[in-house]
Symmetry: C2
Subunit: 255 residues, 2 copies
């Protein structure tokens, strides 16, 4: 299930109910901390970074044992989150899973509860940068070869997509963002507006609007999401806006 | 503000509060209908399809007159929603807008409240198709020249992105989806799994998992979101899964 950006006021009732109903809550320690106010009776199984496989396997084992498990992901569990890994593990292990109301005999029932992803939580703080076609790309080459990431950045730049960069930098990965900016600059103007949001809707929230050429100098870490405008995006006061095309099509006040 | 997929159980407390606090609720009739149970004292300004400019202008005029206005969008207001058009209109009219806590003198204050977008509401029902890099493309050529849409579809296919198609078909637009499938088939296998979700988390919800070659024969309308898998996506029982790469990287049970 998805926790959204973190603050409980962005957590849908459906997700709050799932937490309440759970006997076990499994997740990355940072995300568990965000929801401690909602935990009462639940057993907590928290793991550190890169403990993803262990975490998902623990959730599967508990569910097979008949316990109600809430496996939590920050943002949306379906975007670079835990939903896929659970299903991958089930597939590898030949388990039969499905919806609660399934007619089939299942090893356990499973529901993916969507949430507000980092990309829209961040976009809302920047104004409206995702109003036209966009591509989301993770710069982490821990699980994906750098050649594939590079190829996708180039395709997104060529296609004039708004580009959302997840995991732009970590302590061990410090050169990728600069390489990406150089690649995008082959197709897009140096003054293309870029928005950065760190820790959206959490303590320590930071919002920066800058330009593509100045992006490499900005403070960036694993908790930052970066949105690079397309050829039509513009800065307006504190906002980053990508036009949808309405005003070009209709005269203002025309209808 | 964002309504998410529609059912109140997917509407974050922050959005529910904004509706409660509003004196005026402005929106497309279909979305207003979804939240009638939450409306008590509010004046409702509902417009039909393609009344976007009029709707946003009404919201701006009311806000400038000092009223609390909730301008509602289905899904996330920042993804093909109303957030951008409001900011575009403000920019054209030279209005100064900003956050409620801004130190500047403003014509009115504005907050974009994010929500669960159609792409993650749909993805959750399909399992986990968005676990790796993806591109969102609207097939509506009402506001965007077809050449640009075509160029983006081709770039997304070349880059092996999971492809999310918004607005795949309407009564007047019936040939675009077939053209897109033909384009993607130049880069992707005919058996590439594809998920379709219609009216996610609303009455009349429909979920279909099929293949790229059979996509043109599926029932599709403006309320359908289509997710085309990348070269690694696979069907597993009722699910569409795009692997993130964990199991290739780590041996299962390795940590």
């Amino acid at each position: 299930m998805s926790l959204g950006p973190g603050a409980v006021e962005y957590l849908a009732p459906k997700a709050q109910e799932a937490l309440k109903a759970a006997r076990v809550v499994v997740g990355y320690q940072t995300y568990i901390t965000l929801i401690t106010s909602l935990l009462t009776h639940q057993e907590v199984v928290a793991t550190g970074m890169q403990g993803e496989v262990k975490r998902c396997q623990a959730a599967i084992d508990r569910a097979r044992a008949g316990q109600w498990v809430a496996l939590v992901s920050g943002g949306d569990a379906g975007i670079y989150g835990m939903a896929g890994l659970v299903l991958e593990l089930c597939a590898v292990q030949g388990l039969k899973v499905g919806q609660v109301d399934s007619n089939d005999e299942l090893d356990f029932s499973l529901e993916v509860i969507p949430g507000i992803p980092a990309l829209t939580a961040g976009a809302a703080l920047l104004g409206a940068p995702l109003m036209h076609d966009f591509a989301a790309i993770s710069l982490s080459d821990l699980l994906t070869p750098w050649e594939i990431i590079q190829r996708r950045v180039e395709a997104a730049a060529q296609g004039d997509f708004v580009i959302v960069l997840y995991n732009p930098k970590s302590k061990k990965r410090d050169w990728q963002l600069k390489a990406v900016v150089e690649l995008v600059l082959r197709y897009r103007e140096p003054l293309t507006p870029v928005g950065l949001v760190r820790r959206a809707r959490r303590a320590g929230e930071e919002i920066i609007v800058t330009t593509l050429e100045h992006l490499p100098k900005q403070p960036v870490d694993m908790q930052t999401i970066i949105i690079v405008g397309n050829s039509q995006s513009f800065q307006y006061g504190p906002y980053l806006v990508t036009p949808r095309g309405y005003l070009a099509k209709y005269q203002v006040g025309d209808q």
